[in-house]
């Protein structure tokens, strides 16, 4: 018997989370004191299927973390809606308190995300207590979770965050995220600050927990190797927009968007005989305050043409469950390399 368990409402075919037309702009002071907005997330839509890991990649400033924070409702979106297992988030059907129990997050900085004045078992038990478990039950559960993430409760339960190493603290954060038995865990650069040897331990732990607790992950990272290893599907963001989404292997082997291809070839090769000879992209991403017109990538794209400056490409299927927002994939888009209209719909059933 468990007070916190939430039933699966829509069955396995129903997406766990459906994000539609999400917009989040932050007001800033522009040049000469004019008002401006950072278009951190600009009209993105995607779904997270039950039991999958959705990887999110992109350069800094592309809106990955803003998306994660909106998913958690730590900040509220300007427009767009989140549907969690068929119920609208923050409505009478699914009030925030119920939603947050089912969605939890692990942050990059393992130290600043723990309360330094609480022992780690108190930190882990805090959520369940807020949600109505008795202190004794909550503490017992905290110890159980510590064992699950590989920290012996007898040795570690009474310690404070500063008495742990970075890898151990991140395990505590994972245990705390799991304390409410969530169905979706958002991992925002959760392993980025760890040393390589410790990172591998934590990645293995995340995979084990996913299997044993039937979790769904949104896994955000700038390390493409790690994202490929963890994810079933990958979403690529550029300047607040989704430029490509597809199954991990398809995306790595048949990337359709020039930005995805550039990201992939920016990964250092592990073969000294095949060093990278030319950098795939020059310069830094443009400012999200005043993004380029048309396709936002056209300023850095090797294939950009006049059409790219004018028309904004929308996501278009390029393979099975694989979509890209590039004029070169869209039939009759005006780009010289766009597929001819009559052949275009071949892959879509």
């Amino acid at each position: 018997m468990n007070a916190l368990v939430t039933p699966d409402l829509g069955g396995p075919a129903q997406p766990l989370l459906k994000v539609s037309s999400l917009v989040k702009h932050f007001p800033v002071k522009g040049p000469l004191g004019k008002k401006a907005v950072v278009r951190a997330v600009d009209n993105i839509s995607f779904t997270v299927q039950k039991g999958e890991t959705l990887g999110v990649v992109g350069e800094s400033g592309c809106g990955k973390s803003t998306t994660a924070r909106v998913l958690m409702q730590l900040i509220t979106q300007d427009r767009g809606e989140l549907i969690f297992d068929a119920a609208e988030v923050n409505s009478h059907q699914l009030p925030l308190r119920d939603f947050r129990r089912q969605v939890q997050m692990v942050f990059q900085d393992s130290y600043s995300s723990l309360n330094p004045r609480l022992t780690i078992e108190q930190s882990i038990a805090f959520g369940p207590r807020v949600h109505g478990l008795s202190p004794a039950v909550a503490l017992a559960r905290a110890r159980e979770l510590l064992a699950k993430v590989g920290l012996e409760p007898v040795r570690f339960a009474g310690r404070y965050p500063h008495e742990l190493s970075g890898g151990q603290r991140q395990r505590v954060n994972i245990a705390r995220a799991l304390a409410l038995e969530p169905r979706l865990v958002v991992l925002d650069e959760a392993v980025s600050a760890l040393d390589k040897s410790v990172e591998a331990q934590v990645l293995n732990l995340l995979l084990d927990l996913k299997k044993s607790l039937d979790l769904t992950y949104v896994f955000i990272s700038h390390d493409l190797h790690v994202v490929r290893y963890m994810s079933d599907r990958i979403l690529v963001m550029y300047l607040g927009e989704v430029v490509e989404i597809g199954p991990a292997e398809a995306l790595f082997t048949r990337a359709a968007h020039p930005y995805t291809r550039a990201l992939l070839s920016s990964m250092p090769s592990m073969d000294p005989a095949q060093r990278t000879l030319a950098s795939p992209l020059t310069g830094d991403p443009p400012s999200p305050i005043d993004p380029p017109s048309g396709c936002r990538f056209h300023t850095r794209c090797p294939h950009a043409e006049a059409a790219c400056r004018i028309s904004k490409p929308l996501l278009f299927p390029t393979g099975e469950h694989h979509e890209a927002a590039c004029l070169m994939s869209i039939p009759s888009s005006g780009h010289s390399r766009s597929p001819r209209g009559d052949q275009s719909m071949r892959h879509t059933p």
Partner: protein, 329 residues
Amino acid sequence: MNLHVPQPIVSVRDLSVHFHSASKIISAVNGVSLTVARGESVALIGESGSGKSVTLRSLMRLHPEKTTAIKGRIEIDGADVMTMSSSTLSAFRGSVTSMIFQEPLLAFDPVYTVGEQIIESVRRHCRLSRKDARAVALEALRSVRIPSPEQRLEAYPHEMSGGMRQRAMIALALACKPRLLLADEPTTALDATVQIQILLLLRELQREMGLSIIFVTHDIGAAVEIADRVAVMYGGRIVEEAPLATLLANPCHPYTVALLSSRPEGGLSKGSRLETIPGSPPDLSRLPEGCAFAARCKYASEACKKSFPGRVAVSPEHYVSCHRFPESA
């Protein structure tokens, strides 16, 4: 000088660096010996606390003298760094050896323009007039491929993007044409797309200027792009040292082997578990007597706990310190 055996640019012998704090002594570096040939680039690889950055900073004697005990020999470009007076040392920094850091925003002074800072350094080290120094600074910005360098001279550090700032810091470091560049994780804080640009830039500059580089990183991928030779550090010691291709093809030290296989590389199939190294890096205030890696090593024997293994050549130019490779063999 013997023309057939060129003198190395860097020669470090038995370097040890200990930091004294109120309650304990941190043994950050414990007997590092390293030689870098002219025009060579060497990567120091290791996890946090392995002593790689401390080794690098010791080469320019950047550690506070009051709380640091440095022992050993450091020779750079034929000069003994350990015995330098403070005025010789400041002439040596910047003109013979320069350093770039992980976070250029912290390395630059926020209240001066990038140009002013490069000009100041050039005037101090190359004894040039203001006008000539400005020309040198402009050339330096141009050499690191910063677009519209005249305008960038007038920019403050916060007005530049991360990649641009790192380029500006490289320009500052190389403005006086040093022979040795020390790079302390210069690409760690950058995006992958910008990281590769900076790595390529360093490689080009090295070729053009005949520069020697010591590149500290925890990312083997970055090392592969830039290094001729790699030294792997653990617990304040170099545990393995080899030319890059040799190290990747035939890693010998159990730590190097584990480090290389704990990376989730492309070929790894989904669902297969990553190789991990159990435990965590050693506490530098309580280092064990023997091999620092013994506690995490699956091959550890009694000998590993008692004594630190000597440096053994497993093939020409490939050295390892591990009891599995005994000195007599």
